[in-house]
């Protein structure tokens, strides 16, 4: 992380200060000591961000209670450093050198207090007098070898390299635009997204928007990182501004549309979606967004209406099948199912009627029939099912037709435990003979099986089927009478 170079560090919260003080209380202290301690603690706190978290290297830490830091963390650090040290050979020397250096809070309890106060107080002074980050590192806290790390003269390249190794680097001294851009280009060349993001956050804070956008436009990699960062960090406004600047209109639209997911209140969500309709989506997507808005609008009306109906207790279907969830924010097909379930007979004029939904959203026939069938079968409204597939021609003859194939109809009915009488009507309508036979056998639609074998003139199969039906039943009789029928010219 390279954030430590950023100066916008908020004051440490009170909670953590008192927290830290308590840590050191166990040592027997006089009031004066405590006061001093408090003060030095505060100083330490104000510094720790800068000082303490920079010591990636000090392996041999002692906790301030005097015990070694938990063995797990120790062994982890061991492995961590051994895996990196092979790569970053030059670091291992530093690690050894830093053993004398322990972080301040620990020293408070494990070393003699008075000897430390001097050092800490002078530290606190330097911090208070705001002489800046680079002056604070006192000799006693750092082995000489590390000292130069706080020099402010790192080149952009070195800065980036150090940040890649997770070290502190102040970016503040890159003041001119030129310097900042060199730094950014170095970061990009290093490919470490963490560093690129760090530099970008610095630029975002210190550059004017127009300049930042303009420079990023010609730096695609950095640009992608900033967009990703803004998305993750939820900085929606800046993100939209950036995308607009880049003329990536469709992304603007989608990104804005995404926002609706964060709006829990349905009324507000509806309003928001309404605002999305005009956004520059692709033509195809625009119609989907429009539909999304219309659907939610409908659902709000239906929901209010039905909640009322349900509590009034007047409607039978609501009494018999109380709703288990609200219809708000459900997909279109689910809404259609709902409407076929609770509002099937309504006239087309009402918002909740299935036909109205079908028309408004141009739901294809197939989808409509499937959904209506599932809903009516669930209610065991077999007459409705029948009507769904019945068409009358101009002579008044009725005919059965299904846009989905009758084998599918059978499947759905069967799943809803339709009685055999209902089932076999549709099995009979399955065109493909083999499928028909399979389904009829599977669901014990004896009549259909028998008639099909008769049509096929298959005496052997028909005879064999006799053992599948009950002895003495009407079906057995039927088989016998067919087998005895002299008119039929059996093929076997």
């Amino acid at each position: 992380g390279g954030h430590r170079g950023l100066p916008s560090r908020p004051p440490r919260s009170r909670g953590s200060i008192s927290n830290l003080i308590r840590t050191v209380v166990p040592s027997p202290c006089t009031t004066l000591h405590l006061l001093l301690l408090k003060e030095s603690k505060r100083a330490v706190n104000s510094l720790r961000d800068i000082v303490d978290d920079d010591d990636d290297d000090d392996l041999e830490r002692v906790s301030w209670s005097g015990e070694p830091v938990g063995s797990i963390s120790w062994s982890i650090k061991e492995t961590a450093s051994s895996s990196t040290s092979s790569l970053e050979g030059r670091d291992s020397g530093l690690q050894k050198g830093s053993s004398s250096y322990a972080a301040l809070p620990k020293q408070v309890s494990s070393y003699s207090l008075s000897s430390l106060f001097k050092g800490e107080l002078c530290l606190s002074l330097s911090a208070l007098s705001d002489t800046g980050v680079k002056n604070y590192a006192p000799e006693l806290r750092r082995p000489k070898a590390e000292y130069k790390d706080y020099s402010s003269d790192w080149s952009p390249k070195d800065t980036v390299r150090r940040m890649q190794r997770g070290k502190v680097c102040s970016l503040e001294r890159f003041r001119s635009l030129q310097d900042k851009l060199v730094l950014l280009d170095e970061a990009v060349a290093g490919h470490d997204g963490n560093v690129i993001t760090a530099v970008l956050i610095f630029l975002k804070r210190t550059l004017r928007r127009e300049i930042l956008f303009r420079e990023l436009e010609v730096r695609q990699v950095a640009l992608c990182h900033l967009i990703h960062f803004l998305k993750e960090a939820g900085e929606q406004k800046l993100l939209l501004d950036l995308l607009r600047f880049l003329d990536r209109t469709e992304e603007v639209a989608l990104s804005q549309y995404r926002e609706h997911l964060n709006i829990q209140d349905v009324e507000k969500r509806r309003e928001f979606l309404k605002g999305c309709i005009g956004l520059p989506f692709s033509a195809e997507d625009t119609s989907h967004i429009q539909d999304h808005y219309t659907l939610l609008e409908r659902q709000i009306i239906i929901e209010a209406n039905d909640r009322h109906l349900e509590t009034a207790g007047q409607s039978e279907v609501f009494r018999k099948y109380p709703r288990k969830a609200s219809i708000l924010n459900m997909p279109l097909v689910t809404t259609l199912f709902y409407s076929c379930f609770y509002h099937y007979t309504e006239a087309e004029g009402t918002f909740s009627s299935p036909t109205n939904l079908k028309k408004t959203f141009k739901i294809p026939d197939k989808q409509y029939v499937l959904t209506a069938l599932a809903a009516r079968a669930k209610l065991r409204a077999w007459d409705d099912v029948d009507a769904l597939f019945t068409t009358k021609n101009w002579l008044g003859y009725t005919k059965k037709k299904a846009p989905i194939g009758f084998h599918r109809v059978v499947e759905i009915l069967q799943r809803n435990n339709a009685p055999v009488q209902v089932l076999q009507e549709y099995v009979r309508l399955v065109e493909d003979v083999e499928t028909r036979l399979n389904l009829a056998t599977k669901y014990k639609c004896h009549d259909v099986v028998i008639e099909t074998y008769k049509d096929l003139k298959d005496r052997i199969q028909l005879t064999a089927y006799k053992c599948k039906v009950e002895r003495g039943s009407a079906e057995e009789e039927k088989i016998n009478s067919i087998l005895n029928n002299m008119q039929i010219r059996w093929k076997n």
Binding site: G1, I72, A80, L261, F341, A375, K378, R415
Partner: protein
């Protein structure tokens, strides 16, 4: 001293001084940690101290996040544990970075590539400089560039280790988008497809693992899922993991015979010496027996599902937001038992190039029956990839059906898939897939699942494109397939890293070359199986070690690309 899984709420009571959060740098984890820290009892004594360890790298974004939540200061140490590549098996390393593909191809964030390059540098520090680097794809090019740059910047890192690897092959996942979409048909692949293998562990429904004791009529069936570790340390698993599932049964029954014969031998043991020998073998035999019992149970579970893919198992696979609500129980009861095979049939049709240019009936039916969305997306993407993009009309049709059935908000996911190239309109008007299929022999009609002679056995007919590229690189070399390489996205390249003369390998006759294949953006178990198959081929001449950003399957992969939708309000 103790390890706990990260979860929101209060931290568990434990009389310890230090609490270390060991986490991936992810924002949602930061929220959990914030919650943990804020709920910590300030008054308790002794006070506990917090530390945070990021794996593999400290993240500025996360620390900034913690700072905004006001808890950053509570952490006394903030460190990183540079764990790039985690060994999963003797020949398998993974970075376990599930968002790598999304970051690289959707966000153009190459941080995971930087980590991959770092990991490769570590690997080279331990196993010697790899003299030859081949690659295909944009990301592969990046990683190779970074490696070369890193080497230049650390001139001292020239090590004197004799190189273990002869070749490094870097492959972009987006060079082969097809393979992960298909259902894996190896034993391990199917376990992963159905139950999901997490870090070599799998959780299985407990019923089949109930201890069979006589007299207890299934009284106390265990309700906790059975957790098993799967790796090659287990002899039997090593033998069957990479086999086609159809070949697993015969191995299991053969093993069963051998083991019962071994146990029978106790009757023949007469002398004290013989008995002693028998007893000394007992632990091994018992381990083998329990291993066999476990895998027989797993194989049974898979068989049940592959022949009867019930809704329950599907919801285990992917829980979409709809599956828990009341109306699904209305519209869906049980999916036909043939569904697994129907699904497979459609996949195989697409991969062999049949009817990829029109709306597929089975997919339509699945949408109508509201099968899990991920399953639909896998199929539609597969069709798109096998047709070099869908006809605009077909694409629009699928999109409309998906949005109407699963919710308009999925428009965001569809857009992600388009951006990643998984779902797209056919722009050039030309379908390159048949040429690629024929040249690389991706579809093999005569596949031998029992005693395979080609890698296509891992998908019962389809030879994974990525592995074919590796195979052809070893012999006869990529020059033979220049034309096809040009059709696949991204550049292909070759780099050499100079070795000091002392370290140059003088190959013994018949000695195998070792190639490290690095899959950038994820690899499936079936691909690993295919590479292991190539390693074992007698005249192969090349052994493979596999590294990847993440072990994936089609479901987890698509999931990583889906827009995270807010949980449903109920």
């Amino acid at each position: 001293e103790k390890m706990f899984t990260l979860k929101p709420g209060r931290l568990p009571q434990a009389d310890v001084k230090n609490i270390i959060f060991f986490v991936r740098p992810k924002l949602e984890l930061m929220d959990i940690i914030t919650d943990n820290v804020l709920r910590e009892d300030r008054g308790r004594s002794p006070q506990r101290d917090f530390h945070i360890l990021f794996v593999p790298r400290r993240s500025l974004l996360c620390e900034q996040w913690l700072k905004e939540q006001g808890v950053l200061g509570s952490f006394i140490h903030r460190e990183q544990y540079s764990l790039d590549l985690i060994p999963f098996d003797g020949d398998l390393l993974s970075m376990e970075s599930e968002s790598a593909f999304k970051e690289c191809y959707l966000e153009s964030d190459q941080t995971s590539l930087y980590h991959a390059a770092k990991g490769l540098m570590t690997l080279q520090a331990l196993y010697g400089t790899i003299p030859q680097i081949f690659g295909k794809g944009e990301c592969a090019r990046h990683v190779a560039n970074m490696m070369i740059r890193m080497k230049r910047e650390f001139p001292g890192s020239q090590n004197s280790i004799f190189p273990v690897f002869d070749t490094l092959l870097l492959l972009d996942r987006n060079v082969d988008l097809l393979t992960p979409l298909a259902t894996q048909l190896t034993y391990e692949g199917l376990i992963d497809e159905i139950y999901g293998i997490q870090n070599t562990y799998v959780k299985l429904p407990p019923e089949k693992f109930a201890p069979k004791k006589q007299g207890e009529g299934g009284k106390d069936l265990p309700t906790e899922p059975k957790k098993l570790q799967l790796n090659s340390a287990e002899e039997l698993y090593a033998e069957i993991r990479d086999k086609n599932f159809n070949a697993v049964g015969s191995v299991l029954s053969k093993k069963a015979k051998i083991i019962s014969a071994a146990f029978e031998e106790r009757h023949h043991a007469k002398t004290v010496g013989e008995i002693k020998q028998f007893v000394s073998q007992l632990p091994h035999m018992q381990a083998a027996r329990s291993s066999l019992a476990n895998h027989t149970s797993i194989a049974e579970l898979i068989k049940d599902i592959t022949s009867e893919y019930s809704l329950n198992s599907l919801t285990n696979l992917n829980i979409t937001r709809c599956e828990t609500t009341w109306w699904t129980s209305f519209s869906l009861a049980k999916i036909a038992s043939e569904d697994f095979f129907d699904n497979l049939t459609v996949e195989q049709e697409f991969m062999s190039g049949i009817d990829t240019d029109k709306v597929n009936n089975y997919i339509e039916d699945c949408i109508a029956q509201k099968h899990p969305l991920i399953k639909i997306l896998r199929l539609v993407c597969l069709q798109s990839v096998c047709n070099s993009g869908l006809k605009q009309k077909v694409l629009d049709h699928y999109k409309r059906e998906i949005l109407q059935t699963y919710g308009y908000e999925h428009i965001l996911t569809l857009n992600n898939l388009e951006k990643a190239g998984l779902l797209k309109p056919q722009t050039s008007g030309r379908n390159n897939y048949p040429t690629i299929r024929k040249t690389l022999r991706l579809w093999m009609d005569d596949v031998n699942e029992q005693n395979p002679n080609d890698i296509s056995y891992v998908y019962s007919g389809y030879a994974p494109l990525s592995v074919r590229l590796a195979q052809l690189l070893a012999r006869p070399g990529w020059r033979s397939i220049e034309e096809v390489l040009k059709m696949l996205p991204g550049p292909h390249f070759e780099e050499r890293q100079q070795l000091p003369t002392g370290l140059q390998k003088k190959r013994q006759h018949g000695e195998n070359r070792v190639t490290l294949v690095f899959f950038l953006g994820g690899v499936t178990y079936a691909e690993i199986a295919a590479l292991r198959f190539l390693s074992q081929m007698e005249d192969g001449g090349t052994e493979y070690v596999i590294a990847t950003t993440k072990l994936i399957n089609g479901t987890s992969w698509i999931k990583s690309l889906m827009e995270k939708l807010e949980p449903a309000p109920f």
